[in-house]
Amino acid sequence: MTTETLIWLIPLPPVLAFFLIILFTNRNKALSHTVAVGAAFLSWLGAMIVFVRAIGTPDLGKTPFGSSVNWIPTADTWLKVGVQIDPLGAVVLFFVAWTILMIFIYSVGYNNFGQPKGDHDHPGLPPHGATDEHGHAVPSVEPMYSRFFAFISLFAFGMFTLVLSDNLLTLFAGWEIMGLCSYLLIGFWYAKESARNAAVKAFMTTRVGDVFMLLGIAFLYSATGSLSYHDIFQPQVLHALASVPTPIFGLSAAGLIGLLLFIGTVGKSAQFPLHVWLPDAMEGPTPVSAMIHAATMVSAGVYMIIRMFPLISLDPKTMTVIAFIGTFTAIFAATIAVAQNDIKRVLAYSTISQLGFMIAALGVGAYVAAAFHLVTHAFFKALLFLGSGSVIHGMEHGVLYTGDHRVDPQNMFNMGGLRRKMPITFWTFLIGGFALSGFPLLTAGFWSKDEILADAFSNGHLIVFITLAVAAFLTAFYTMRQITLTFLGEPRAREAEYAHETPWTMTAPLVLLAGFAICAGWVGIPQDFLGLHLNPSWFHEFVGSTLAVMPEATPFSWVAFGTSLLVALGGLFFGWLVYRNVAAPEQDKLQIPLLKNKYYLDEIYNFLLIKPSYWFAKTVVYQWMDKGLIDGILHFFGKAANAIGSVVRKYIDLWFINRTVGDGTAHVTQWVGRNLRPIQSGRIQQYMLVSLIVLLAIVGLLYYLLVIV
Amino acid sequence: MNFWFDPVNFIAHWLNSLLVGWGMAEWLAALIIQLVGVVVLISLMMVFDVFLVWVERKVVARFQDRLGPNRVGPFGIFQPFADIIKLIIKEDITPDGADKVVYNLAPILSLMSVLLLWAIVPLAPVIFGVDLNVGALYIVAAGSIGTLSIIMAAWSSNNKYALIGAFRQVAVLISFEIPMIATMLIPTILAGSMGMNEIVRGQQTVWYVVLAPLAALTFLIAAIAELGRSPFDLNEAESEIVAGFHIEYTGMKFGLFYAGELLHAFTFGGFWAVLFLGGYHFFGLENLGPLVAVVILFAKAMFGYWVIMWIRYTVMRMRIDHMLAFNWKFLTPVAFVVLMLTALMNTLLRNTSSVVYIAGMLLTNVLLCWIIVEILRGFSRAERERTEGVASATVAAHH
């Protein structure tokens, strides 16, 4: 099979799985997850083959794999839709395929496959556990098991479409599919008020970004007449775009388009100020969180903006904006993360801040670094989320055991000492955490983050550099805080004592991802690291070749290296120091209300946007316009019509129609009927005779008219 | 052309020259010759029919461990003539209230339907009535005339027994026609033509009984049913409806029915031979001359006739509902399965070597036969379990 065909085929299995499950295998859990995981595996296989062929191909950047077909006929040309794999796409495809497969497998265990049906579970609520034949409390299987797999299959389809597409239109299609799926999945337990609201919030917030993105796409199409990367990134096209001025902020067309697209990213990748949906999205099942926050959706935003880098980088203003937003988000989210107690929320905020890193890197023009961090972050963040899911799962065991459902299995202050209960989870989580906080030389996170810092430093963006360094420090700090609270020390709640390790379907993905969390970084070791001359960084060579002009490798600088070393180790150390014997939230010095409440951003939004729109809808639209104006008019019409009607009835209907026409007709009909009745003799042959006579007459007439005359 | 290798045309040619010599118009001469041929064939069959009476009586006697006719002439060979004389001098009764015309027409039609069949039997490569390209259907058509004659006889003789017999017979005929047609289509498929001559020519190398034994068997059963002979002789079940449709007939009219029945049996023996036993082929012996071929065919027909008699005098009569059920639920499906299978195999194996072809066909039939037997066994076991209860059934199964 040619690579092009293969690429076309990659996204298909998940969507097929989606329809299969929805339509046919909905009843059968085993079949459903077999179909879904099988589909994910097929896609993974195709992705791997494509990836291997891609890295085997010299200067893939100049001649990417890809083919396209005509889709929508526009006036004189065709709107083409196609697939394309260039170095950037290849690496993204690589980690997407891996993480998706891992998450699928993990979901089997997470949804308690093979456990008995819940005693009082009902669809739309998390499983409450069941009592097995021995009377023990055991976890119960998710009531909407099949539906879950259907949704994540569709989600995977969306992501593959997005990664493989060679133009912005299909990318946007996949983008929106994922938007829908995230809505469905965050609200998966739709019987929970919070889940419902979170789903709506996520949908709405991302929609804001998507609208702007669509604007950008439309502008781009009207400006260049095409949406495929290949056409857009032609030098003359770019030059044209860069030279066209626009009325807004004196931006060039390129800058404006870039800005609009970037707003889309801000929505999708949860950058300030549209980040608020991401923490709430934690209401969904944990594989969903991992799906949305690590592997697919948020990465999609960054992927898109990296993809558009040649366009964006044309306008310094836009770049500045991007750099600013990214940097601010990074530090901002990191500070919030420090004060969170919910294990998943911490990770959510850290995701936001890490994405901030990437955006910032892009803003300072560190193309490769951004892509690199995207990849490594996907791996170790997926690992962390799945790990946290594993922890929660273990805690739920404990909760089931004690039967005290008031205990929140996600609150880190109920945990502690889990390293003995669930070792695999502990070690893998540790690896993930270290990778996140950039533990030097060993973990993937270090290399990517270090490269970002180095780029920021060497490109002379000192503010960015310092801010990111602080953010990195905080990252390491809250990561260590999390690890300490969760795994180290002694159990702070009975539930934690009775937690135990999760099934292999959950731990196996953890181990695999842990492997990636370490090794994924080694492909990107800078050439002159520590001044010793290694062979050039493979990742840099490979991904850098995507651009028209290969960005030169960043020179090694002791400052950047030392900084990242310092912040990582220092953060970890302080984190451990502060929290090694904190027993309760009260003893936590950093539970500052401002941070804890996320700078009251939700409240501000609530006050500034939601309240007014509610008020507008309720008072202006509903009461004044709708009730007063429109209903008033309608009522008037009603009354008028009523009056006319009564008049008509009295003087026309009753008198004229009924008396004269109505009864008259009836009489006439009766009379005719009475006189025609004898013909209805019930004798077949008579009927036949009559019909025959008529037939003869007609035929004779026709014959006379047609032939004789 | 000499007499030995083409007798019919030889004589025809001679006659033709003779008649034309008398100054007769060509077409008239041709017509007369045709008529002569017909008369000759018919009278030949009738005379043979007389002989059949003797055969039947002898064979039945042997089956029943008797001597049979042995007074009139050597081995009682002249017994049939005595019978004929008896029939002729009997009083010819037409029952009161009978429908005269129809009543007298029926026996004639009955015999006619049989004699018609001989028009398409290829007695030898050069001796045959007509080579009809729809021969197989022609057989059924003639058979339907027989049906007609029976119902006419029964209705016109104004007799309830007769009517019941006729109803039974007609029901049987109409239902058993279906497997018969289906099985007659199999030689048609194999030979690629409905014409009897073609079918016989197709059996030069291998008789169709080898290629389609099941079809041959089915055809035989259906034929017996068509003949209304035991075990299917419900039309004249003496113990129930005295003699069925010809209860009122006496004298020569009855004789015609009787002769018709015998000749019918022999005729179907002949068709069995033509369709499945290779007609006049007998390992190249037929090449000696047409007359030899005729003898061979008659020998085979006689064999078929003998088989029919054998069954008749061995198996006991079935009940009408059993019989119809047997047809609709067993014989017809089997016939159709065999038909489809044969057609399929024939198409698949046509271009293979003849050995493979023959072996394949034979194997298919054997396999199908085995499957059918298995199915029947399953049914019978279920039946037994229903009637006798499980235990005995299992015991029987062990035996």
């Binding site: - | 429908d99 129809v102 058509a141 209705w155 007609v170 109409i174």
Partner: protein, 169 residues
């Protein structure tokens, strides 16, 4: 006037005569039998027209099945053997006029058709009409669909007949 024409005339006369008997005779069984004669005549016509297959099928289907069915039906729907009373409706003369009119009209139209009295080309010897017919019946670009529809119709009729005539008691 060739032999064939004479033959045709005889057949035609037999057909029409027996047909008249079918519609006029008092005894219904006789009517059915006369119908059989008519059908035979039609079969002969087919033979004259070189449609040997149709001729035989006519005998098989009509005489072997349909006519028999008629006789059955007649026997099953009567109490005594003879049919008493008038067999025709009172207004039969009117019907006769209508029939005559129909015939007249048909004849009138036909004779004004220019292809009315054309004669056929000689039937090519060795032309396999039956084979042609078979191929036409089952070849997808010819008549396989009507053929299948007809078979479905037959099945439906079979089931329907059994259901209707089934004696529920």
């Amino acid at each position: 006037m060739t032999a064939m024409q004479i033959f045709f005339l005889i057949t035609g006369l037999v057909i029409l005569g027996s047909a008249l008997m079918v519609v006029t005779t008092r005894n219904l069984i006789h009517a059915a039998l006369w119908l059989i004669v008519t059908l035979f005549g039609v079969a002969v016509l087919y033979a004259i027209l070189n449609a040997s297959f149709l001729a035989v099928v006519q005998v098989v289907v009509y005489i072997g099945a349909i006519a028999i069915l008629f006789i059955f039906a007649v026997m099953l729907t009567r109490k005594e053997m003879r049919d008493r009373g008038p067999q025709l409706n009172k207004g039969w003369w009117l019907n006769a006029i209508i029939a005559l009119l129909t015939f007249g009209g048909l004849f009138w139209m036909l004779q004004s058709w220019n292809g009315f009295s054309k004669t056929a080309a000689d039937f090519p010897s060795g032309y396999d009409a039956v084979g042609q017919l078979g191929r036409a019946l089952i070849s997808p670009d010819a008549f396989v669909l009507p053929f299948e529809v007809a078979s479905v119709l037959l099945l439906a009729a079979l089931v329907g007949a059994v259901y209707i005539a089934f004696n529920r008691k």
